[in-house]
């Protein structure tokens, strides 16, 4: 391995070389990359100049930041203090007021064209965007100003991705997601309420390592995290396939871990990797469906926050199953040679026997008649 691991590296990251490489490999694995990519990540992270990150909190609940705080590999403080340089985040920074705003502007100017912009929360547009202002500046103006000099824009959470919960009809503030505001550069969206921190971290580290964003789908979501339906990787899928559904919360089927589709699980129409990477690093079952609650589809626009939790999911991309019986199903097999032989033998015996009987009947009658005539003739 070509990375140079010195005493200062160990002091800076607070972990041994072994632990550090393990972290990088885990990061690469969560994106489906090889261990070689893990090495590249290790080099990128150990680079002396940490990339600046501006994290804007808009119309949000700080849940995404809270989710980030619960990341274990790396922990958030490692991320913001040692891997990146988090120059502005209202929830985490000590500074406040005009000083903080000035620091943000200074960082944006110093790192123009190089910093990563992270957006958390929706952006209100109604009535000139007055429903979310920071330092007298509307959220929309702030986003446009920050996006102008950003090397990459990451929208974390459903609110920043498409408007999320605040945009639920009737959407009183007329809020939208970052992709509707920033038109001149690609916006990575990491939807979820909250999103899985590792989907965000992996995206950031991918950007730091390769200098470009991971492959995105048509909604700007990283494909490594959002290319599969929840339904496809769900641990309860076998119950769905066998028609075993929890009928109500707490019933026998629910306790037995049956499929939650009938209770309104949105897994069949929601794209996310929740069942694969789980939440909170506490082992199996640590995701909504694993705990017995139907997926609410928080990563999917028009599903999460719009469809009632109990409402049935539409089956996305449903294809006809291969093993279902057709309308007319021929059953059994054709005649075997042996059975056909037996049948032919029986038929031949019957025909032969019948023929002989018929033949003999006529014969006997004729004979008896002949005998009578002979007697008469005597």
């Amino acid at each position: 391995m070509s990375i140079t691991w010195g005493r200062e590296s160990a002091a800076r990251l607070g972990m041994s070389r072994r632990e550090f490489l393990g972290f990088c490999t885990a990061m690469a694995a969560s994106m489906g990359l090889s261990a070689v990519a893990g090495e590249a990540m290790a080099e990128a992270i150990l680079a002396p100049r940490r990339p600046a990150v501006i994290w804007l909190a808009l119309q949000e609940c700080t849940g995404c930041t809270e989710s980030m705080l619960r990341a274990e590999h790396p922990t958030l403080e490692k991320l913001i203090l040692e891997i990146i340089s988090l120059d502005y985040n209202e929830a985490l920074m000590a500074g406040a007021g005009h000083q903080a705003e000035a620091a943000r502007r200074a960082s944006m100017a110093a790192n123009h064209g190089k910093y990563v912009l992270v957006l958390e929360g929706a952006i209100p547009e109604k009535d000139g965007g007055i429903y979310c202002k920071i330092g007298g500046q509307t959220a929309k103006a702030m986003v446009l100003e920050a996006a102008a000099g950003a090397a990459a824009v990451i929208a974390i959470g459903s609110c920043a991705s498409w408007g999320g919960m605040p945009s639920t009809p009737p959407n009183p503030t007329g809020c939208v997601g970052a992709p509707s505001i920033i038109k001149d550069k690609p916006v990575v969206t990491i939807p979820g309420c909250p999103p899985n921190p590792y989907n965000f971290l992996s995206t950031v580290v991918h950007f730091l390592t390769f200098g470009k964003l991971p492959e995105l789908d048509h909604l700007g979501r990283p494909k490594f995290a959002y290319s599969r339906l929840i339904h496809e990787n769900c641990e309860r899928r076998a119950h769905f396939d066998n028609g075993r559904f929890a009928m109500e919360f707490g019933d026998a089927g629910h306790r037995a871990g049956y499929c939650l589709y009938r209770l309104g699980c949105k897994g069949p129409e929601t794209y996310a990797n929740c069942p694969s990477i789980l939440f909170g690093d506490v082992g199996s079952g640590s995701w909504p469906v694993g705990t017995g609650h139907p997926c609410i589809g928080c990563t999917e626009q028009h599903v999460g926050f719009e469809k009632p939790i109990h409402a049935l999911a539409a089956l996305a991309g449903q294809t006809p199953p291969a093993t279902y019986p057709r309308i007319v199903e021929e059953q059994g097999q054709g005649a075997t040679l042996a059975s056909a032989g037996v049948l032919v033998a029986v038929a031949a015996a019957a025909a032969g026997g019948g023929g002989m009987v018929m033949h003999n009947i006529g014969k006997r009658e004729a004979e008896s008649e002949r005998d009578t005539r002979r007697e008469e003739g005597k």
């Binding site: 769905f240 396939d241 028609g243 409402a311 539409a314 294809t319 309308i327 199903e329």
Partner: protein, 336 residues
């Protein structure tokens, strides 16, 4: 003897024809029509466009009726019946055409369909059963088979236009098996298990009159219109499902087929493609019973037939006697 053969044929035709006419004429007037729908009848509405093919109904049916799984694949892990059988009272089948890209489309599409007892208003199986083992409940209209009475003649298997009753060919003491709409569950306040578990409301249980009304309501909606689909029991406790209306074939199968059935269908693919062929509105039971009862009405036909036969026998006996008196029979065959 040549005239005898001709006479015999003529007499048979004349005698038989007149006897038939004498027997049928009064009977045709007394022939029965389809039985009427029972107002309190219970049944199912299966909406193919709502079905997602999850087979919950099949699993629940097996559980509710204590039926064994049926293995048809190389790996005997799953219950995979190909059709109704002595082990399977309901089965979800699939129609597929071409690329099978879109659900509920006839061309290059696919659709699911349920097979189970139709609980005919005028059931053929009840009509043909010689021992009244197959009965239709006068209240619920559910058609059940009493295995203690059944003699295993399988007339019901042959008579059913929907091929529903099945015989247990693989047991030494076989029974007739068919859907009985979970009648045994009703005593405990439950309803048909297949409808109770259906997650989408594709199989809906209820009073047939209400189900017919619900089916007509769905047909009156325009495709794509959002509406509420009841789940489980029509008018029951389970909450509705909000969904978009599919493009229906404008027909309620079972509304009039065979004089009506208590299991009715809606679908997005023509029913003939789903295994539900067009059937006459007059029930087979009413036709065959009319014919049967006409033939035996007041024993007129049998007596007439017997009289005709007796007359013919008498005639030929007289002819024989005359023939014997006129001359001796010619010698048969050559002399040896």
């Amino acid at each position: 003897m040549t005239s005898t053969r001709r006479e015999f044929l003529r007499d048979t035709l004349v005698g038989g024809g007149s006897a038939l006419a004498a027997g049928l004429l009064p009977a045709i007037a007394s022939g029965r029509d389809n039985l009427p729908r029972i107002p309190t009848a219970r049944g199912l509405l299966y909406d193919s466009t709502l079905c997602i093919g999850c087979k919950a109904c099949m699993a629940a049916c097996k559980q509710a009726n204590d039926l064994p799984p049926e293995h048809t694949l190389a790996e005997p892990y799953w219950d995979t019946p190909l059709d109704l059988s002595g082990k399977t009272k309901t089965v979800i089948k699939m129609y597929r055409d071409g690329t099978a890209a879109v659900k509920d489309r006839e061309v290059d599409g696919f659709a699911f369909i349920k097979a189970s007892c139709m609980h005919c208003v005028d059931p053929s199986c009840v009509s043909v059963c010689p021992v009244s083992a197959m009965r239709k409940d006068p209240g619920s209209g559910i058609v059940t088979n009493n295995p203690d009475v059944c003699i295993g003649c399988r007339y019901c298997v042959a008579a059913c236009p929907f091929k529903v009753p099945r015989f247990e060919y693989d047991t030494p003491f076989p029974r007739i098996k068919k859907c009985e709409l979970c009648e045994h569950r009703m005593a405990k306040g439950h309803y048909a298990a297949c409808a109770a578990v259906c997650p989408t409301g594709a199989t809906l249980y209820g009073q047939v009159e209400d189900l017919l009304r619900e089916a007509k309501r769905r047909l009156s909606l325009s495709p794509g219109e959002e509406t509420r689909f009841p789940r489980g029991e029509l008018g029951g406790a389970d909450h509705d499902v909000r969904a978009h209306t599919a493009r229906y074939v404008p027909q309620i199968y079972g509304e009039s087929e065979m004089g009506g059935t208590q299991m009715i269908f809606l679908a997005g693919v023509p029913f003939a493609k789903l295994g539900y062929r067009p059937l006459p509105t007059r029930s087979y039971a009413s036709v065959s019973e009319t014919l049967q009862h006409s033939l035996y009405e007041g024993m007129v036909m049998p007596i007439a037939a017997l009289a005709g036969l007796s007359f013919l026998a008498y005639r030929s006996r007289v002819n024989h006697t005359l023939l014997d008196e006129e001359d001796q029979p010619e010698p048969a065959g050559e002399q040896p």
